[in-house]
Amino acid sequence: MYERPRRARTVLALLLAAAIVLITIDFRQPDGGPTDRLQRLAIAVFGPLQRGASAVASPVGDLFGGVAELAGLRRENRRLEAEVARLRAQERTYADVLGENRRLRGALGMAKRCGCRTVGASVVASSGSNFQLSVTVDAGSRQGVKRDMAVVDADGLVGRVTQVTADYATVLLVTDPSSGIAATLARGKAPGIVKGSGAQLLSFQPVRAGTAVRRGDPVVTQAYQGSVFPAGLPIGVVERVDPAGAASLVPRVAVRPYAALGALDVVAIVVERPAPPVRGS
């Protein structure tokens, strides 16, 4: 095939310029701008296709997953045997553990007790990018879903709605590096922000220096003015604390999310937070 190099270079220059213009527009536009509308169009077109492909492909994916897991099974078995032994030893303290569990649940204020109105949805696809951790779910504005709503699974906060079409919505996972969520420690009510890092663990950044954080402290969401984010949704549990030092004024806190972010299938979107208690009643 013969090709005129000058024509190819012109095409390249035009396309690169177009991409840069798109990036500029995307960063400068308000909600509902041109690339926003394009994005909704793309989700609306590909959503049904992705749902179909998911349905066909999930057994295939499971098969690959199964093969990949085989190698780890032997180690898993050894680990489980050790765990059984450990659990037997712990059996005597079962009553204590049960009590602690109940207290912990009380402190957490699980989503059930939040009394929020939620909409259920299935995950139809996840972001194909290695740098953006998000999923597409099959509930949209027709079901009352709006931007910035909280998304939970059975165990805890999954993320925040970032894009909505009539029947589909995109959810940015809490683990994404660009995700930041207002949070408090369930114990002590110290405010802070939970940020994603792209890896499994989240980081909790306390607002005040000198905040006391201990391993095992649950972290929950905090409501803020004008948002539908309810307070008290469980996010995760403090796994590691690097105390404040010369490098930073506040302690660095690693949080393990409760939600099963690696294997999401069904989620609930909080479309309305509970009405504040009526005074004097």
């Binding site: 095409v11 995307d26 992705q50 492909a53 792209g198």
Partner: protein, 166 residues
């Protein structure tokens, strides 16, 4: 026209596979990038112009669908398609190894460029960017023998119109 349809079909199928089947195939938090493989294969089987245009279209759809800043993947895949389409003239060997190396290098470069852009916009972390490049390249190498011949055959079967001059 038929060629356009074939390329569009390749694009749609690649995007669907990437967001469904491959989404579950995560090792060390990274998954293969089927889209860049499709771009490389199309560019190798056609020319720099087609490679760049196909890269732009693929990148744009990926940006819109995968919730990335719109234009980032488009920019990177356009450059990838053009670069591969330009280099192909010098690749005379039909040995699979040459094509594997090319696909791997293109994957590494595109993953790092994409990550770098996102890091510049403060949407990713250095650690994630550095780690993603080699892992994506490795996964793509494993995927190349499955994907590459299919896309190649499809694209080559419907050649571009014979060059017209006016």
């Amino acid at each position: 026209m038929r060629r356009l349809l074939v390329l569009a079909a390749v694009l749609v199928v690649a995007v669907l596979l990437q967001s469904t089947v491959l989404a579950g195939l995560r090792l060390a938090g990274v998954r293969p990038d089927l889209l860049v493989l499709a771009v490389v294969a199309v560019a190798m089987a056609s020319d720099a112009t087609t490679g760049a245009a196909f890269g732009f279209a693929t990148g744009l759809v990926a940006d819109l669908l995968f919730d990335l800043p719109v234009g980032v993947s488009a920019l990177v895949y356009t450059a990838t398609g053009f670069a591969v389409g330009t280099v192909r003239v010098y690749v005379t060997s039909h040995r699979p190894l040459v094509h594997l190396v090319l696909a791997g290098a293109a994957s590494l470069a595109s993953a790092w460029c994409c990550g770098l852009l996102l890091r510049v916009f403060d949407l990713s972390t250095w650690a994630a960017v550095v780690r993603a490049g080699p892992l994506v390249a490795l996964f793509n190498l494993l995927l190349t023998p499955l994907v590459y011949p299919v896309v190649w055959a499809l694209t080559e079967r419907v050649p571009a119109r014979p060059a017209q001059r006016w």
